[in-house]
């Protein structure tokens, strides 16, 4: 069955293009500090210099090399997405498993909490927190994760309740396996596809939010980010520099969001048994 899934993933053009794009962008983001010739905070170049062999995308209004900025910005956006995705996933799996395993009061309390969090628009809390406290981007990513785990927890809980009743879990229990052993060795690996779906969805949301909120100026202004580059380039759209300053960050951001979206769509399609029949 696992092999089946791998084959259908490999045959899905959306998965392939998403993964390919993702790998290229991840390489650019990961190797950013080595690929960039200049420090993106270095302000000693003449502003508004057009692209040349020294500065591939020219210089911005503050005298900084745009290409280096682009690499660092992409790196920050990617990290923000991954960090939020991983944290939301961890909380979600923990809560979902706890609900399915302990049931009763634990389940009731945690699920009610999840419903309340689902109803709260996370953007608004983020804006409020960012405007008042100006926290680091890591802090904001943790806040976003703390607000966005409920969907993962609900999916994990529903599936874990089903798995709990299966024969091999019953057998393990009969043989006297402890709760922790069953959870770690049987339940957690069993739900594997759900994690990928949840992670991809959350990482996508987080990258989208990071770009939008940094565009709105809610992140630390000294932190390079694609959204902030767009924000600073936009007032100069009437100059003839939009194609080397405004478009590259937009292009990178679009490719990034596209890659995660394709992965998310394809994973959901392949792993969700109901949808698999549908597509």
């Amino acid at each position: 069955m696992r092999l089946d899934i791998r084959r259908s993933l490999m045959n899905d053009p959306w998965f392939l293009s998403g993964a390919l794009l993702g790998l290229v962008l991840a390489f650019l983001a990961g190797a950013g500090p080595w690929l960039a010739q200049y420090n993106p905070h270095d302000m000693r170049f003449p502003p508004f210099t057009p692209p040349s062999s020294d500065h591939w995308l020219g210089i911005n209004d503050g005298g900084m090399d745009i290409f280096s900025e682009l690499l660092y910005g992409m790196r920050n956006t990617v990290w923000f997405g991954l960090a939020t995705g991983v944290s939301a996933l961890c909380i979600g799996v923990l809560v979902g498993m706890a609900c399915a395993w302990f049931r009763g009061v634990t389940d009731q309390v945690l699920m009610r909490l999840a419903e309340i969090l689902l109803a709260i628009p996370a953007v608004m809390i983020l804006i409020l927190a960012a405007a008042f406290f100006r926290p680091s981007s890591w802090m904001l990513s943790m806040v976003l994760a703390a607000l966005s785990w409920p969907t993962i927890a609900k999916a994990v809980r529903a599936q874990a309740l089903v798995v709990r009743k299966t024969l091999h879990i019953q057998a393990a229990r009969q043989m006297g396996a402890s709760g922790g052993y069953i959870l770690l060795r049987h339940m957690v690996p069993e739900l594997f596809p759900l994690y990928l779906i949840g992670f991809a969805a959350k990482a996508r949301m987080a990258m989208f939010m990071e770009a939008s909120l940094s565009f709105l100026g809610l992140f630390d202004p000294s932190r390079k980010s694609l959204g902030m580059m767009i924000r600073y380039a936009l007032p100069y759209y009437y100059l003839d520099i939009w194609w080397n300053w405004l478009l590259p960050p937009i292009f990178c951001l679009t490719l990034l969001i596209m890659s995660v979206t394709f992965l998310a769509v394809s994973l959901e399609k392949v792993f969700d048994p109901r949808l698999k029949e549908a597509l």
Partner: protein
Amino acid sequence: MESVMRQKRKRIRRLPQVLAYGLAALAMLYASYSLPRWLPGDFVTAMYASSHVTLNAEQEAELRAYYTQQKRFGRYLADFFSLQWGYSYAFLSPVVRLIREALPWTLLLLGGAHLLSMCLGFLAGVEAAWRRGSALEKAGVGSMTFLEGIPEIGTAVILFLVFSLHLGWFPAAGSETVYLERSGAQRLLDVLHHLALPFLTLFLAYLPGNFLLSRGSMVMVLKAQFIETARAKGLPPLRIRYAHAARNALLPMVTRFGLRIAFMVTGALVVETIYAYPGLGTLLFNAIAVRDLPLIQGIVLFSSLVILLVNLALEFLYGWIDPRVKHAS
């Protein structure tokens, strides 16, 4: 991702859901009440020193008093519901008035784009599911998935550069031409002319989600036995498609709405800002740029409560679309 079983259980527990919205609203209000009280030291000086707004001594004292007053939460709630949301020192105007001026434009833009994209997306999704496997359907799913991957910032800037700057077909900012007395019809045309680009951007951003979601659920519904029965009875295809199937395919769109709203609001903020459309998003952008705390707080709280209300209304709409809910509860 929601299984049919879970949806059924969800339908039965509607009252707790309503309660959850109430608690969420209360949590938002409490966060907005308590956050400024956690701020360290003399934040008024720190915040406004780094913004472009200069306060005179009197205004600064007033602002500090506003944020350090020992107000009970109950009093805060009473003030909130009697629309005393503070005073914006950047715009020199009460927060309520600023929000009231911006709100109609946001409603027009966001509400309009959402309704249109939902109707068209749903119709297209239903038709696509009906023609499953055809070339047209495959092209539709492909292009919509592609479109789903483009963030609003990208679409907005590109459309702006092409149609506003390069071709000059549409105005670059604002919601209507100012200082111009016009008759009703001409004014309407002017407003629509300004609305076109931001509206198109948001429409393009919302459409793929609606299309893919309704297509997916419609495909599932078309497999149900009652559709088989309807076919066997010899009902006309149009009747099967809309009277029998589409109504059931509508449900996931309503339940998913709450999850998608975070994306929608964030996107709308960006789009309004890029086109300088005078709605709540641009107001919030300007408030953030000058660190106008009372205004930020007011907009955030107001829009959160509106979002919660919309969700609550949908919860009831859900019961109306699906009579089974009413019988279950």
